[in-house]
């Protein structure tokens, strides 16, 4: 082989993106096959954060599963608990008081803002815009403070309980929440000023990772990923749960289905979530304080008075503490609109105090599966934009 032929020789190159690349939002390895800078194939290798949560849940009572649910999508811990509680309540056929429903909605929407802020900061950072990160985390910090007020924890708030809440809202929460709700739209404008008309941002995101509505359905995308392509679908509006039908909000849609449009959709969703929180705060004073548990002896501990003075109350208390909640035999699928898409819980009960099988449908897992389709034919640098736009959390992917 002479020199000229050696120069002509071409072959593809395999490149490992990860497993600990700073733009992968967790431990993700993507095996990229490259022709120069062009991506021919992208094979995500997941499982580095697999903790066997579904298996562990089969050995725990329903309430002991709750802390594990927090650790699925840890940027939106409260939403996972919310969904799991709804699933078990559906299995038990328990109705929770309006106050519980409203407070859960408020916490879920605050968490949605926090999750989107995290996405905004890191997505921008990945693509070279460092400033939005600091602005986004400024507001996210306030939501973390609110989570800390209700549950004592910031990343893993455990505020929902099956059949109610851990306690009523603490003193000082309502003024702090009002403060956040009133100032957020103004702060939100800062992010727009930084990115929306930024030429570099537009160049990096427009036309990158385009999905048509048909492809969205075929690939199982949900949430903002689907709405970015114009699929008019929001579980909060179309299959309302936990009194979402009481609130007035708009489901933002975009048409191009690219990274920039998904950015716009998530930006608007934050404002809409803020609107819902405002409506909850306006209506909370009308709902009796302290009404935070379902009046159902199968899930709620009896009042202490009944435990000490009444044999039925004592037995009820004893059974719930010793055995736990025992739903009837059956299976339900309950899904909620999590910040990243449809978060579903398929719970199968055999009538014992532990779930026979719990299957979690994590939105990140499904969204990530389309990475190969989006990355083919794009440049290596676009893969970073694609991972960012999917808003994946590897703990949710790997479970």
């Amino acid at each position: 082989m002479n020199g000229a032929e050696t120069l002509k020789r071409t072959e593809t190159m395999l490149l490992n993106l990860g497993p600990s690349h700073p733009s992968t939002h967790g431990v993700l390895r993507v095996l990229l096959e490259l022709d120069g800078e062009l991506i021919l194939r992208a094979d995500p290798d997941i499982g580095y954060l697999h903790r066997g949560i579904e298996k562990m849940c089969e050995y725990r009572t329903y309430h002991k599963c709750l802390p594990l649910m927090n650790r699925l999508d840890y940027l939106a811990g409260e939403v996972n608990n919310f969904g799991f509680c709804l699933a078990v309540e559906k299995l038990l056929d328990v109705e929770v008081p309006k106050r519980v429903q409203y407070i859960r909605v408020m916490m879920a929407e605050l968490t949605r803002i926090a999750s989107h802020l995290f996405w905004l900061g890191t997505h921008g950072h990945d693509l070279g815009a460092m400033t939005p990160l600091f602005y986004a985390f400024r507001e996210r910090e306030k939501i973390m403070d609110l989570c800390e007020m209700v549950s004592g924890a910031r990343m893993f708030p455990l505020y929902c309980r099956i059949g109610g809440l851990a306690g009523d809202l603490p003193e000082g929460f309502i003024p702090a929440a009002w403060d956040f709700v009133k100032t957020f739209p103004e702060k939100h404008q800062d992010y727009h000023n930084l990115l929306t008309k930024n030429q570099i941002w537009i160049e990096r995101t427009k036309g990158v990772g385009v999905m048509t509505p048909d492809e969205v359905l075929d690939w199982g995308w949900s949430g903002p990923m689907a709405r970015g392509s114009g699929v008019n679908w929001d579980l909060r509006r179309d299959n309302p749960y936990s009194s979402y039908e009481d609130f007035d909000f708009v489901v933002p849609l975009a048409i191009n289905g690219d990274t920039y449009d998904r950015y716009l959709v998530r930006m608007e969703e934050m404002l809409q979530a803020n609107r819902i929180v405002r409506q909850v705060l306006e209506r909370l004073p009308d709902l009796p304080p302290g009404d935070i548990k379902a009046k159902d002896p199968r899930v709620s501990l009896p009042p202490k008075d009944a435990v000490y003075n009444d044999i039925a109350g004592l037995i009820n208390h004893f059974k719930l503490i010793q055995e736990g909640i025992t739903p009837p035999q059956g299976e339900v699928y309950q899904c909620i609109e999590a910040p990243k898409g449809e978060m579903g819980f398929y719970v199968v009960s055999d009538g014992s105090p532990k779930p026979f099988r719990l299957k979690v449908r994590g939105p990140s897992f499904i969204n990530l599966s389309a990475l190969d389709k989006l990355a083919r034919g794009r440049l290596l640098a676009d893969s970073i934009a694609l991972i960012g736009t999917m808003d994946i959390v590897l703990a949710d992917v790997d479970r």
Binding site: G47, Y59, D238, F365, I366
Partner: protein, 151 residues
Amino acid sequence: MNKAAELLQEKFPEEVVEVTEFRGETTITVKPERIVDICLALRDTPQTYFRYLSMIAGMDYLPQSPRFGVVYNLYSHRNHNRVTLKALLPNDANPVIDSVVPVWTTANWHEREAYDLVGIRFRGHPDLRRILMPGDWVGHPLRKDYPLRGK
């Protein structure tokens, strides 16, 4: 009765084993042999229009027999309703069912997960390998006879 159940009972009377309603959800148990035809019918008939596959769950019902099953949850963006399809697999030693990847592309990773964690094989799957566990892992962790804390 649910439209999907009506459709299947009309088109595939031999295949439908049972239709149950629980807490407002319809579960249709079908025989596994013609699962792809059933899914195609549910997807393409305008009245049902289940264009979206929410999840596939591999199930191990030990000590029951048939031991293994596959559960599909479908959603229709037109009617905003859901249906759960369930297929019990006759072979306890070597559970196999046809892959529904030709019907919904998203089934690819769901089926890989069911194969990895429960050990159900999907005939015709384009790339059936482990997804969450390492490639050389022995055993399927979500089986009921798999211990929680190793051996």
